[in-house]
């Protein structure tokens, strides 16, 4: 090792992107005029100069071994002069300047088990989180459900046959690291029982004022248990958000019998046509049923299918529901409407139907 390398380097940030850009991109940076889709997963961007850059997008499980990454690197070398990128939904994109090489690349990717697609009105990758693979908070797994769902939605990834983009996201607890709250379909891990308080250690590992103020509904009160300072949870006021556990390990939420999945629909992020919107509750609870979560898969596929069949061109899922109305959404999907669908948190009143606009 050199003398310089021995010095501890800090606060340098990432390598400058410039080093990693494809030469065609570097040359035409900011000078793109339009794009075309050549096939699902294959885009062509045309620059003012007339130059073209081709993109081949492949689905990824996001959780990648170095072995697979090296295989991607090899493909990039073979087809792209060593250039690739990842997308904001964790797909991998190969950047080519030679249209002729596209088919061969697609073939190799398919052989390696990486489907090409996810563009335009396909279902793209499911943005997701850690689940049982790496997080202490999870009410469910992440990668397993994603795999089970995408196995069944596979053709929706490789074909662009939906009325519009459809974004699925998953978060394994209410912290929502997958930021699922604005997704066409959100799969959200939830608890359904209050924390089980570990009175014996609580005051040792947690700060009581922080703990008490962490509860959005004020359900936590101090209590002395067996002579030790601890807390109690007013069960009626607890809606199982787990925020107390985030600040205090002595409030574990895990409960195999009661943890599970809720399904949310109709959110979006883009400003295209309608403003961004939050996803709304479709199904309050489905059980955790590893390894393939059949109830969850069925629920998601059902919603996708009903949407695909009924929505008009350019209607995102939430825009479709806005047109047909929520009653019809529940009718068409066969999902029961329950007391849980009616908001009762802070702004609940604003979610009531405050007009006589009704479809029969």
């Amino acid at each position: 090792m050199s003398a310089q390398a021995a010095k501890r380097i800090t606060d340098i940030g990432p390598p400058h992107y410039d080093k990693f850009l494809h030469p065609v991109i570097k040359k035409n940076y900011g000078k793109w005029v339009y794009h075309e889709t050549l096939a699902p997963g294959v885009l062509c961007h045309v620059a003012e100069s007339g130059d073209r850059i081709y993109t081949v997008r492949a689905g990824s499980p996001r959780l990648l071994s170095v072995q697979t990454l090296r295989r991607f690197a090899d493909l990039a070398d073979k087809y792209c002069g060593g250039h690739l990128r990842f997308t904001s939904r964790n797909n991998v994109e190969f950047l080519l300047d030679n249209k002729e090489k596209i088919e061969a690349l697609k073939k190799e990717l398919n052989e390696l088990g990486f489907p090409v697609g996810g563009t335009n009105n396909a279902i793209s990758n499911i943005v997701h989180t850690q689940g049982w693979v790496h997080c202490h908070s999870s009410a469910t797994d992440a990668s397993g459900i994603v795999k089970a769902v995408m196995d069944v939605l596979y053709d929706r990834f490789t074909h662009e046959d939906l009325p519009a983009k459809l974004r699925v996201a998953l978060a394994c607890c209410l912290n929502m690291c997958g930021a699922v709250h604005c997704s066409d379909i959100a799969i959200l891990g939830i608890h359904r029982r209050p924390p089980k308080i570990q009175h014996d250690v609580l005051s040792k590992v947690c700060e009581l004022p922080t703990l008490i103020s962490s509860c959005p509904t004020g359900a936590i009160r101090t209590k002395t248990v067996d002579g030790k300072q601890s807390v109690e949870v007013v069960e009626e006021q607890c809606m199982y958000c787990g925020n107390c556990y985030t600040v205090c390990p002595a409030m574990p939420m895990n409960d195999p019998e009661n943890d599970g999945i809720s399904i949310w629909v109709g959110g979006k992020v883009s400003n295209a046509r309608s403003a961004p919107k939050f996803s709304k509750l479709a199904i309050p609870y489905l059980p955790n049923n590893p390894p393939r979560w059949p109830e969850v898969v069925r629920a998601v596929v059902n919603i996708v299918d009903v949407y695909a069949k009924n929505a008009k061109k350019f209607e995102r899922l939430g825009e479709w529901i806005d047109r047909i109305g929520w009653p019809r959404f529940f009718e068409l999907t066969g999902i029961p409407f329950t007391r849980y669908h009616i908001d009762d948190f802070k702004h609940a009143g604003l979610s009531y139907a405050r007009s006589a606009h009704i479809r029969f």
Binding site: S262, A299, D343, G349, S351, F360
Partner: protein
């Protein structure tokens, strides 16, 4: 009182000018017979000079056996304006739809000239006939004459208020239920609740025959009854064509303004996708000769609107999406009973029913009054994941049908 004793009303006199009918003229006119009005004018002129009111805070007065129907009012300058030292108003149930004969009007005038200021509001914001200003001693005599003439008092305080209704079937082609009958029936049905305040706070009912809502029920009634229909809009194609020929731009002015864009006009034929119609009335309003509400008629019941105090204004929200006209009165009576029961038990002092629902949550309210949750009740399902699962359900949830 001699003319030169009339109060000087320099500022108010300004309001006798101008084309719009003048309330100052009205007061002066009544003042020709009633000295009360002179003192009213005097005090009002003072208010105009000082930019502040001169009435004292409330005061409970009324007629025998009634807890409501009179608003007590006292001047804070009784020495200066002795004739309005007391100046109470009486709220009188209006006839449904505000229909009168000239005789009825004259009867009311005679009574109020005898026992009050001779000034009225036709009508108050809630809908009552307002007899504006009298003294305590005249309340009972005025009441006696009123009831003898077939009139009765309205509500005030923590009581039911006089329901009101739009002109409805009496003169409107769009009325989807009999607003006058409903309003009249309800007024009669709840005389006791109106006259002997039994509630945590006031309770108002308004009846509109269609979603145009000409009595503003969705904004101003604890219970809003808005007529609507369930089947298809009745459509007369020849008349549609006639509107087009007469120059109406059907695509732009009708189809493009339909909130769900469920109408198509191809230049020849108007096609309505009635399954997606939200019954907003727009197309019917624009083409009254060509389009009419359907024939399966009834009403949507909505709950909870009110003015801003305390927690912000509310609009009523859907409680029962559709009640067929022939079931309306029975449904209303049963529902009102259950709502009042719950409100009685759980409502805080001065908490309107809409505020109570906000506080306890719609789902709990529905439980309490025995209605099932329906997606029509919400603009959208919840967007926050803060669900209070019911104890018995956790650990034993059946898979929902649609899953």
């Amino acid at each position: 009182m001699a003319d030169d004793q009339k109060p000087k009303t320099k500022l108010l006199d300004e309001l006798e000018k101008g084309p719009w009918p003048s309330f100052v003229k009205e007061i002066k006119q009544a003042g020709e017979k009633s000295p009360v009005c002179d003192d009213l004018l005097g005090q009002l002129e003072l208010s105009y000079e000082e930019k502040k009111g001169h009435w004292k805070h409330g005061g409970i007065v009324g007629v025998l056996g009634y807890g409501g129907g009179v608003i007590g009012r006292y001047s804070d300058l009784p020495d200066k304006f002795p004739n309005v030292a007391h100046f109470h108003t009486m709220r009188v149930n209006q006839p449904a739809g505000w229909f009168y004969t000239s005789d009825a009007i004259r009867t009311l005038c005679d009574i109020w000239e005898r026992h009050g200021s001779g000034l009225t509001n036709m009508h108050g914001s809630t809908g009552d006939i307002i007899f504006l200003g009298t003294k305590t001693s005249e309340l009972e005599p005025a009441f006696k004459e009123l009831t003898e003439a077939g009139f009765d008092l309205g509500g005030s305080g923590s009581a039911m208020r006089t329901p009101s209704c739009c002109v409805g079937p009496a003169r409107c082609e769009w009325s989807c239920y009999d607003t006058l009958k409903t309003c009249d029936d309800l007024t009669r049905q709840y005389q006791d609740e109106m006259h002997r305040p039994p509630f945590p706070y006031k309770f108002k009912i308004k009846c509109s025959g269609c979603p145009n809502d000409c009595v503003a029920s969705i904004a101003r009634a604890d219970l809003s009854i808005i007529g609507t229909w369930k089947d298809d809009i009745r459509q007369d194609d020849a008349a549609v064509a006639q509107y087009a020929r007469a120059g109406l731009d059907i695509r732009k002015d009708v189809c493009d303004r339909c909130p769900t864009r469920c109408m198509e006009w191809d230049g020849q034929k108007l096609a309505i996708n009635n399954r997606e119609c939200v019954h907003c009335m727009h197309c019917i309003n624009v083409m009254p000769k060509a389009l009419r509400p359907g024939q399966e008629r009834g009403a949507t019941l909505l709950i909870g609107s009110k003015a801003p105090i305390v927690q912000g204004a509310l609009l009523s929200s859907v409680l029962v999406p559709f009640v067929p006209e022939n079931e309306l009165m029975d449904t209303l009576k049963e529902l009102i009973r259950r709502i009042w029961e719950f409100w009685d038990e759980y409502g805080n002092n001065r908490e309107r029913v809409g505020e109570l629902i906000q506080r306890v949550g719609m789902a709990n309210f529905l439980d309490a009054i025995g209605l099932d949750p329906a997606p029509e009740m919400v603009a959208a399902p919840r967007d926050n994941p803060y669900i209070f699962f019911q104890k018995e359900e956790a650990a034993a949830e059946p898979e929902p049908a649609g899953a």
